[in-house]
Symmetry: C2
Amino acid sequence: MKPINIGLIGWGTVGSGVVKILLEDQALIQKKLERRLILKRIADLDLESPRPIQVDSSILTTNAEDIIKDPEIEIIIELMGGLEPARTFILKAIAAGKHVVTANKALLATHGQEIFKAAKEQGVEILFEASVGGCIPVIRTLKEDLPANHINHFFGILNGTANFILTKMSAEGVDFDQALAEAQAKGFAEADPTFDVDGIDTAHKLAILVSLAYGHELELDKIYVEGISQLALLDIQFAAEFGYVVKLLAISSSNESQIEARVHPALLPRDHVLAGVNGSFNAIFFNGHNVGDILLYGQGSGMMPTASAVASDIIDLARSISKGALRRVPSLAWREIGQDGMELKPMEETITTYYFRFSVLDRPSVLSKISGILGEHKISISAVIQKGREVKGAVPIVMMTHEAKEANVQKALSEINQLDMVRDKTVLIRVEDRF
Amino acid sequence: MKPINIGLIGWGTVGSGVVKILLEDQALIQKKLERRLILKRIADLDLESPRPIQVDSSILTTNAEDIIKDPEIEIIIELMGGLEPARTFILKAIAAGKHVVTANKALLATHGQEIFKAAKEQGVEILFEASVGGCIPVIRTLKEDLPANHINHFFGILNGTANFILTKMSAEGVDFDQALAEAQAKGFAEADPTFDVDGIDTAHKLAILVSLAYGHELELDKIYVEGISQLALLDIQFAAEFGYVVKLLAISSSNESQIEARVHPALLPRDHVLAGVNGSFNAIFFNGHNVGDILLYGQGSGMMPTASAVASDIIDLARSISKGALRRVPSLAWREIGQDGMELKPMEETITTYYFRFSVLDRPSVLSKISGILGEHKISISAVIQKGREVKGAVPIVMMTHEAKEANVQKALSEINQLDMVRDKTVLIRVEDRF
């Protein structure tokens, strides 16, 4: 059978990994695939920077249109990232009847609806295994392994940079700024780490997972997102005293009418399977009504792990092209998206348990005053640590609560923060203790 | 489109779970699938025992041939287990042009070659996601997520009964017999637990994984298999003192010419991701040359988790049937099996680290004598515990070694066991410390 021609748009780190696999692992791939894969063209604005793998310069171009318009190219790999011009290139590629493989979570979370609709109308495939969890087979698991499950809830550590920083803070007792600086020095964090540490990247991935798990498209700006840049080392240390670790989590659950979707730092019990996911590793934990609990764990980023996931999509496509079996599985696994009748649960209605740290003047009445206000808002306390450590002239009181409603918690903390004896804004970290 | 008719052979625990999904989760499945699934016939010799889900008695038969010969049935699910008549039924089903879904690891490990060859010749599919790791998507991960990876090594906890017993021994300090009795009382172990505790079930699963990972078919009786029934509580406790837990592992690795494949109890470092896999959970850890480390974790057995994996195969098949895309992926992912030129590495050539427990008379010369013999066989010691606890008149000396060769270890222990001062046969447990 004749080979399948591939064009790559975006020759960065992951792109270089894909080139490496297509050139160096061809013999292995040929043992699994009837048709040969040929990397016919690479487009990138920067063709001068050194790359880890050399390619014949005749296949290089600075013009992505050279790939999109090439009638011999059947699969286009988009690895440039960002919204534009990636969106335009992908839509043009689809219009030209090409299949698309992408790792672009920002784009899919923002313009997924438009792109998936275009692909359906053109009868082409769009695969995106590398967009969430790097090499971890999370997309294919949702599409093909759990189709007969209602996903009760799932939560995951989906950003390697944030997890590297939290692991470092926890293991070495350094504060956020120092951990970030080390992550940057080691190449685990970008010069501008906003997307990673502010939870935006995690929210993109959560939006994609929600669409796969529930057939529901979230408006990205309605997801509650809180990052880790405000997280104090002190709270990581107090959490440890209560037997918890702090992780940046994407959390979702659903019942028949509502979907919960939020991104924030959370306390996880130390013996939870996700608590041991350290450094730049990612992991995701699903609870399905038939399977019960499933955990998937691996490298969420990095050149070769991410390229491996892109390669799995290329091989998946090549198998489908060879059998004339396109769109065997819908892009998001569901025949119709957005027909679920479900809505996003407002953050104020979230019910969970909480960790609070109050900064108070060391007066006899303070504990009864605070617990009184909490009680008025139906928040009951499950554990308290009050220790003499002074921080900026105040002492910390740390509490864990039983389940409470977010709206009540916000009201109570707002009242407490206005007390004279309270010196700093109260720290709130939500707890995730579903195993 | 017209519905797809399904026949089920074997109406036991997992079969009942599949019936439950096909009847109760039909609406969910229809949101993902263009064609309706109809459970047209169920065959079982025992139609009288109570089942958790009622079905119309008109679909029941005691004769599997009623299903195999039904021209309207396209998919046959074999869940009777065992070698015969399961093998004959599956071969007849394939000959009749039916697609087959099975969870029968013993059959695939023993007669896989014959069955996969027949399916290839007939152009039908045989899917078996539930045969290894219950609901954990291990088969599909190897076939579809890691095709561009050479699997350097993998190891897994693949038997829930054995893991339940080991977890109980470790957590509660009970011996094997007591833990087994409790596992049986709770339904986690069969009345005859031989397959599970002697490692045979794990070896079946290992053989299937080796064929998927390396395209190599192992002769089952050449796999080194050691179970847990001889495991003493004392060794679990000593292992804990060194920072290890004991798990029954399936272990495999390969280079270009040899495949290692063995099943035995092994010491895992306490902070290893697999060390926290407790109770009846299973997990498998892969290291691929591009992905690095991946861990998959979930329920390895049980009615609904296993049925969920069977259902994922049914839906996979229904999607392929609907698109006329049969055999899009070869049964074992490789175009040709057994063309790899690799051979099974003899157990004697295994190189790993070891835990030894010597039972010796408490004499001054004993440690130097034993370490002398070990040294003569190029086995060097990394840690020793010698404590005064008397066991049957002897004291235990426990050692951890650096890497050594199995043949040398066996020779050294054979010499040591003949010493007058050695009272009982030396205990040997291999260590798995690749993360």
